[in-house]
Amino acid sequence: MAKNDLQGALDLLILKTLSQLSSMHGYGIVNHIRRVSDDRLIVEEGSLYPALHRMEQCGWVRSAWAITDYGRKAKWYSLTRAGREQLAAREKNWEQVAKGVDAILRFA
């Protein structure tokens, strides 16, 4: 079971986004999640950055300053090897959680 579903979900979203985009800055991550989920999921900036910094400390992501397409300076995050492993574990875990939640919702 997931230790902390909410946080686990946010981490999963960020990790997955980074694995799809290979490298992205915080603003881009928010936009990506929003776009792909058709505005259903909106990540708050107040939660995003603490999560990114925590993940960086755990060694799941690394960061570097670079210029965006529109000429702004930003910190770009990308997955490390440990991050990819983490993502795989989380994805598996999430399937279990989703199935569990689904089962409960369908219980008649």
């Binding site: 603003y27 603490p50 910094h53 702004r72």
Partner: protein, 890 residues
């Protein structure tokens, strides 16, 4: 790894913070860019981004908090901020740190003494393995007892020496005095008589030469000694010890084998030894002199409990084999019923421990209470301070600081204060502790304790520091972190809202202070009065203007039957000296801790009575009146009927007849003291015997001339009464040096000796008195502070009321009433606490009940006066408020 990198970059906080800030700023910019691209005006775009993003400061803090290393950094920032705060309000900081330092210092000082006296183990290898053997319950006064800690006769020791399965080694020792130096310029040193296994069993290794070994026990002539490090350094100049090193001991030149290491002070905590010499087994063994203390080192695998069982099982045979002869069958039966027990001895033995343990515990409690009062004061100070800082706190909360963050900062502040206080306290504790030891030392008995801040002391101080930090810091911190920013900012610094409920806590603290200081004052009064009772107590005989002279004449080798006559001539010689009122011989000087008793039968009644053998002049010298019958005269000689003068306690216990004079008293035999029958010729009032506290025991006086010849020893004690005691020693010395060259003479002041036995009581009186005063002082400060603060908070209200026509006296009366209520509740609680605490102290106070009403009333009255005087000043100040000015400033 990331965390490691962060720790390495610790101190480069600003760079990291800037980085976070830049990241967040860029994020916002991108947000604005997109909004503008979507067609918003620049202004609307910025506003929308900011609304979405929230407070940038709070966001940055949250990101930083994820960073463990940065978290450490921010604690450091709190520390710096707290220090800046202290520097900004130096008065506050100095008061707080000084109060804490004194409080913690006093506590630590007492604890250091307790530690040195009771907790620390002997400086020998593996002290936990040492066990002492004792007769369970003591020997109940059987035979002759040479002193404290000595509970083995030589035959008993020899038995244990051969049978000690639980021990890998055993040894016997006793403390003794010795004369060192050439005759005429000799001086008394502290000696240890030790068996051959003493040093090897203890694991003490030589510092110089070698120590005493089993082969040294051969021969009872004193030929070799071992010096302590202190003696070797100070008396022998620290010159390396060789086979030719000798010193003069007891008039003879003896070889010094070696010296012990500096840390080894002997077996008694609070004392130290100068010389050690080997025991020997004399040809003629006394079986009834309790002479040695016996200890052993447990073999691996043996516990003290197992050893105890072993020696308990060994006891019947042991006491059967060593039973003394010459005693009545009853007495021998008592002896053979003794059982040996084993007790942990890793901390050595200590007279101090037995005498002062309960005093030290009580002192620790007293200093603890003083610290509690100080803490309450500090908590009040902090509360007042935090409510002054309320506005600042409100602003910080409004800006997004979390409660946890504010709480941490306030706790850091009080932790720093406690740390500073505890640090200074440990430094202060050393001299305080030394001063206490010095006050317990007397001329005749100096105390040598190693006062050191070992880990136990430091741990204790740290514990006290943490406790004070929690007591004075936490409550105010929690209180102010609960601040509602909006109401606090609206009501300003001294508004009416939100402050009322806070008062109850300050009131509770004042009440606690009054209650605790009531306990301390009652304690102080009890101990001071108890000491006064002891000092002014009439023991039943003359104390002042009496010199004690101890004379030894072993060198004259007098025949047993001539000793009594020689003693008489010594007394007569002293009596003829000018300036001397009277003189008497006695075998026991009262109130010096000695005791001499025999078992008596009077008709059908029997029991133990003290026996004192005295010159006829004894009662005149000490001013004891003869109540009935006659005193002794020079006609009471060894060849006349045996005469006895008894005190009232003796009559109460043994004489059923209405006229004691003429009654016969039978004394049971003991070795050297044959069976005898005396006739009571006179009676005297009760006099104190062993110490001032004890009731007078039954005492029987016998003329010195009738002392059994077989028991005579070449030494005597003389009590010399003179108006000018200073000159006595010189004139007696002069006379006897001419008349009896080589006579060993020592002098002491009787009254001084009695006072010296009261140093423990004096210490309690002094320290508890000082702390009682300190407690009252702290209450004054605390109360004044709290009242001033209350009234300052209510200045607006008072202003309005005066403007509306309230009289000033009413305002004063009201605030006095307020103080009176707190005082009343505090006093009631204090009296109850004092009654509970008094039970603990009941054995320590003399001539008073712990619930002594005069003491309780006195302490309460003192506190009441102090409180009223303290409250009048702020009350008057409040009443003199100018209503216009106050209302305008509102």
């Amino acid at each position: 790894m990331g965390l490691f990198r962060r720790i390495v970059t610790l101190g480069r906080r600003t760079r990291m913070e800037r980085e976070i800030e830049a990241e967040l700023r860029e994020h916002m910019q991108m947000c604005i860019d997109d909004n503008v691209a979507a067609g918003m005006s620049r202004k609307a775009a910025e506003r929308e981004a900011r609304l979405r993003f929230g407070s940038p400061v709070a966001a940055r803090e949250r990101v930083s908090e994820e960073d463990a290393a940065l978290g450490l950094e921010s604690v450091w920032r709190d520390v710096r901020m707290a220090l800046r705060g202290f520097v900004k309000s130096p008065g506050f900081s100095i008061v707080v740190v000084a109060t804490l330092a004194l409080g913690i210092g006093a506590n630590t000082a007492i604890f250091e003494l307790l530690d040195a006296v009771r907790l620390r183990t002997l400086p020998v290898s593996k002290p936990d393995e040492l066990a002492e053997l004792q007769i369970v319950g003591g020997n109940r006064g059987f035979g002759l007892n040479e002193g404290m800690f000595m509970n083995f006769t030589i035959p008993m020791w020899l038995e244990v020496k051969d049978h000690h399965d639980p021990f890998s080694g055993v040894f016997a020792w006793r403390a003794n005095g010795m004369e060192v130096g050439k005759p005429g310029e000799s001086r008394q040193v502290r000696a240890l008589e030790v068996s051959g296994g003493f040093f090897s069993t203890l694991g003490v290794t030589p510092w110089q030469g070698r120590l005493i070994e089993p082969q040294d026990e051969a021969g009872c002539q004193l030929t070799k000694v071992v010096a302590s490090y202190g003696f070797w350094k100070s008396q022998m100049g620290g010159v390396p010890i060789t086979a030719n090193t000798t010193i003069v001991v007891e008039g003879k030149s003896v070889q010094v084998l070696g010296a012990t290491p500096p840390s080894f002070f002997g077996m008694e905590v609070g004392n130290r030894f100068d010389l050690a010499y080997p025991t020997c087994t004399p040809a003629k063994l006394r079986r009834d002199i309790f002479f040695y203390s016996v200890m052993g080192r447990l073999k691996p695998g043996w516990s003290v409990k197992q050893a105890n069982d072993y020696f308990n099982a060994l006891s019947p045979g042991l006491f059967e084999n060593t039973a003394p002869t010459g005693y009545s069958a009853d007495a021998v039966k008592t002896y053979t019923s003794f059982r040996l027990g084993a007790y942990p001895a890793g901390a050595g033995v200590s007279h101090l421990r037995e005498a002062y343990s309960s005093s030290l515990n009580l002192l620790l409690a007293i200093t603890g209470l003083v610290l509690l009062i100080a803490c309450a004061n500090l908590a009040n100070l902090m509360l007042a301070r935090s409510s002054r800082k309320q506005r600042e706190i409100a602003i910080r909360m409004a800006l997004g600081a979390t409660r946890a963050r504010l709480l941490r900062q306030m706790l850091v502040e009080s932790a720093l204060l406690a740390l500073l206080g505890a640090g200074l306290g440990v430094v202060l504790a050393q001299p305080l502790s030394r001063a206490l030891v010095a006050s317990l030392s007397t001329n005749g008995n100096s105390i040598h304790l190693t006062i050191a801040a070992d880990w136990r002391v430091l741990l204790f101080a740290a514990g006290v520091g943490v406790a004070t930090c929690i007591l004075c810091g936490t409550v105010p911190a929690f209180r102010s972190s609960k601040t509602e920013p909006v109401s606090a900012m609206r009501s300003g610094e001294r508004g009416l809202m939100g402050n009322r409920e806070r008062f109850w806590m300050q009131r509770a603290m004042v009440v606690t202070q009054v209650a605790v200081s009531m306990v301390l004052l009652v304690g102080a009064l009890l101990f001071v009065r108890s000491y006064r009772n002891l000092v002014t107590l009439n023991p039943g005989f003359r104390e002042s203007g009496v010199v004690l002279g101890y004379f030894g004449f072993g060198h004259m080798h007098l025949k047993q039957e001539n000793i009594a006559a020689f003693k008489r001539t010594l007394v007569e010689d002293v009596q003829t000296l000018p300036g001397i009122e009277n003189a008497t011989a006695t075998n026991n000087v009262p109130l010096t801790g000695g005791s001499w008793s025999h078992t008596v039968d009077v008709g059908a009644l029997n029991g133990s009575s003290r026996f004192t053998y005295v010159s006829p002049s004894y009662f005149a010298t000490l001013g004891i009146p003869i109540l009935t019958g006659r005193g002794f005269t020079s006609q009471d000689r060894s060849d006349t009927p045996l005469a006895l003068i008894v005190n009232q306690a003796f009559i109460r216990q043994f004489v059923r007849s209405t006229s004691p004079v003429g009654q016969r008293v039978h004394v049971r035999p003991e070795p050297d003291y044959p069976e005898r029958t005396y006739e009571i010729v006179g009676t005297v009032p009760d006099t104190k015997y062993f110490d001032l506290r004890g009731e007078a025991p039954p005492i029987a006086f016998v003329p010195a001339e009738q002392f059994p010849v077989t028991g005579q020893r070449p030494g005597m004690a003389m009590m010399i009464a003179a108006r000018d005691t200073a000159g006595v020693e010189r004139s007696v010395r002069q006379m006897f040096e001419q008349k009896h060259p080589g006579l060993n003479m020592q002098f002491a002041n009787f009254e001084q000796g009695i006072r010296d036995n009261l140093v423990g009581d004096r210490l309690m009186a002094m320290v508890s008195g000082a702390f009682g005063v300190l407690a009252a002082l702290l209450v004054v400060i605390g109360l004044y502070g709290v009242l001033s603060y209350f009234l300052a908070q209510r200045r607006g209200e008072i202003g309005i009321r005066i403007a509306l026509g309230a009289s000033r006296s009413r305002v004063v009366g009201e605030s006095l009433w307020d103080a009176g209520k707190m005082l009343g509740i505090g006093l009631i609680m204090g009296v109850m606490l004092a009654l509970v605490a008094g039970r603990e102290a009941s054995t320590m106070v003399f001539g008073l009940k712990p619930w002594d009403p005069a003491t309780l009333i006195g302490a309460a009255a003192l506190l009441a006066v102090v409180t009223v005087v303290t409250s009048i000043v702020p009350a008057l100040k409040a009443a003199n408020v100018n209503p216009i000015e106050t209302l305008r400033s509102e």
